[in-house]
Amino acid sequence: MALRPDLAIIADALPSSARVLDVGCGDGELMVALRGKGVDARGLEIDPANVTAAIARGQSVVQGDANRDLADYPDDAFDYAILSQTLQTTERPDRVVDELLRIAPRAFVSFPNFAHWRIRLALLWGGRMPVTRLLPVAWYETPNIHHVTVSDFRDLVRDRGIRVERVWHLSGDKPASDAAASWRAEHAIFLIARG
């Protein structure tokens, strides 16, 4: 099965033999893909069915909550932390980002861009919280409690003195140009590092 596009980008960008913590690793899809690269990947996942599936696939995954349980990992336990499609679901995204860069000197953070033109249009014309492919659930039951845009995230990391080493923008499943990414990118992947 093909890897989700944002995960494929992260898998490709990771150096071999890196020690990696995949926060919100789901059923271990990315971890399995990284096995061939000699990457030492561990996972944290909140859903017990997903954790069971990942362990059954031979992965090292701990059931836990990114809001709370990142504190159990020592400083610099990993080379990279990964937070894909999860930032917008956390209680305090700013603190989670700090934790990622405490556990590892670098982190990949990917999230759906709430400033994509379709969302802007839906709000402008419809006047209702948008329901899109990447944000498919109505406002009252969505796990996405902290919607974030590409520009918001840039502001956050700048305010916290975090370096952005690389950014990938996706539109659909295809790379989008960096020009006008704020409204053209459906999805962004940041590689951030301690400042």
Partner: protein, 373 residues
């Protein structure tokens, strides 16, 4: 009856080497009874050690010689099962202090030939593990693919990782804890007092007499059995239903089904277990605290076990060894950078879930054993 129990012949070996114990005492030699399943491969790399629980035994997947019932983990161990004996050479030894062929309080004194009784030294979980290591030395197995255990078996598995980290590739710890809590100790003390208050206990020297403390042992089992089940499970199974009657007797017969069930569990237990062994093994569990030699820091116990892959499983209805105890172990493992997996499974059966039909557990066990092999 205890006397019949001790007449059963078990496959075992007597190792004539001293076994130094945590208490400071030394067993001059040790007899270990064990069962094995599947074939050891040519490079001796496919051995899996299963550690049994308090009242378990080495008959993991074969009929019990006293009761004739199927092995206690026959659903998990066998050809094509999660612990696949077509792939793995599975070994299970009766623990030190027990009553199914391994040295314990019923073992005869070398000098007098009379059963040791309470002269048998108090042992610990780590002593049990040392005895298992002696067996593996005898069998020529230097390194295990995995050590697996539920409940007290999980404690032994943790003690294996802490004591012989270079001798195992992975550790699978199910429904267990790295220490006995005050509540755990309290329940065990009720059981021990029930045995020792039975006049037939005779200070532990009942082996030669016609009387054995079966009443006390049965009460100990009844109390313990409650801790193995969930309230939800008990309610579902028995509720307040009456046993073989329509109205209350206004007496002290087993009016309620749950009473009848517990009485049966208690009595049946005395056919297959020795009261003194129950005292010694519960004591070993109460003394268990893996952090104790490391100034209370559990991580200290795992400092040399970084290369062991750990998998921990708890059950949401297990109040004997609750999820918080497994999490505590996971946190210690993470702090030393060991590869750890952990999941809390949902199952209605309380602590006993690890022995029962929980399909997610089967998948986990197979996955935890399969990786890296």
């Amino acid at each position: 009856m205890a006397s019949l129990l001790h007449q059963i012949q078990h496959q075992g070996v007597t190792i004539n080497a001293p076994l130094p114990l945590d208490s400071g005492q030394v067993l001059p030699s040790v007899t270990i009874a064990w069962q094995s399943y599947g074939t050891l491969n040519a490079d001796r790399s496919n051995a899996v050690l299963i550690c049994h629980a308090l009242t378990g035994d080495q008959y993991v997947a074969s009929d019990h010689p006293a009761t004739g019932k199927p092995g206690w983990w026959a659903r998990m161990v066998g050809p094509g099962k999660p612990i696949d004996t077509d792939r793995f050479h599975v070994i299970c030894a009766n623990v030190l202090g027990s009553c199914m062929g391994t040295s314990g309080p019923a073992t005869p004194d070398a000098a007098t030939g009379a059963p040791l009784g309470m002269a048998f030294p108090v042992i610990t979980i780590t002593d049990m593990v040392r005895a298992q290591a002696m067996l593996l030395d005898h069998l020529g197995i230097s390194r295990l693919h995995a050590v697996v255990g539920g409940s007290m078996g999980g404690m032994q598995t943790l003690a294996w990782a802490a004591t012989y980290p270079e001798r195992l590739a992975s550790a699978l710890v199910i429904a267990s804890a790295a220490r006995h809590s005050a509540q755990n100790i309290a329940f065990h003390e009720v059981g021990r007092q029930a045995i020792m208050a039975d006049p037939d206990w005779q200070d532990g020297q009942y082996y030669g007499s016609a009387r054995a403390p079966t009443k006390g042992l049965a009460v100990a089992r009844m109390a313990a059995h409650i801790t193995y089940l969930s309230e939800e499970g008990l309610t579902e199974k028995f509720g307040r239903r009456l046993q073989a009657r329509d109205i209350k007797s206004f007496g002290f017969d087993a009016d309620f089904q749950v009473e009848s069930y517990l009485r049966h569990q208690g009595l049946a237990f005395t056919d297959r277990f020795d009261a003194n062994a129950y005292l010694y093994i519960t004591r070993a569990m109460d003394y268990f605290d893996l952090a104790d030699p490391h100034d209370g820091r559990l991580a200290g116990a795992f400092a040399t076990a970084k290369d062991v892959r750990f998998t921990l499983v708890s059950f949401d209805t297990d109040w004997l060894y609750p999820t918080s105890e497994s999490r505590r172990i996971v946190q210690a493992l993470q702090s030393v950078g060991a590869a750890a997996s952990f999941v809390e499974l949902s199952a209605p059966f309380g602590h006993d879930s690890f022995l029962l039909d929980v399909p997610a557990l089967d998948r986990l066990v197979a996955g935890a054993l399969g990786s890296g092999f």
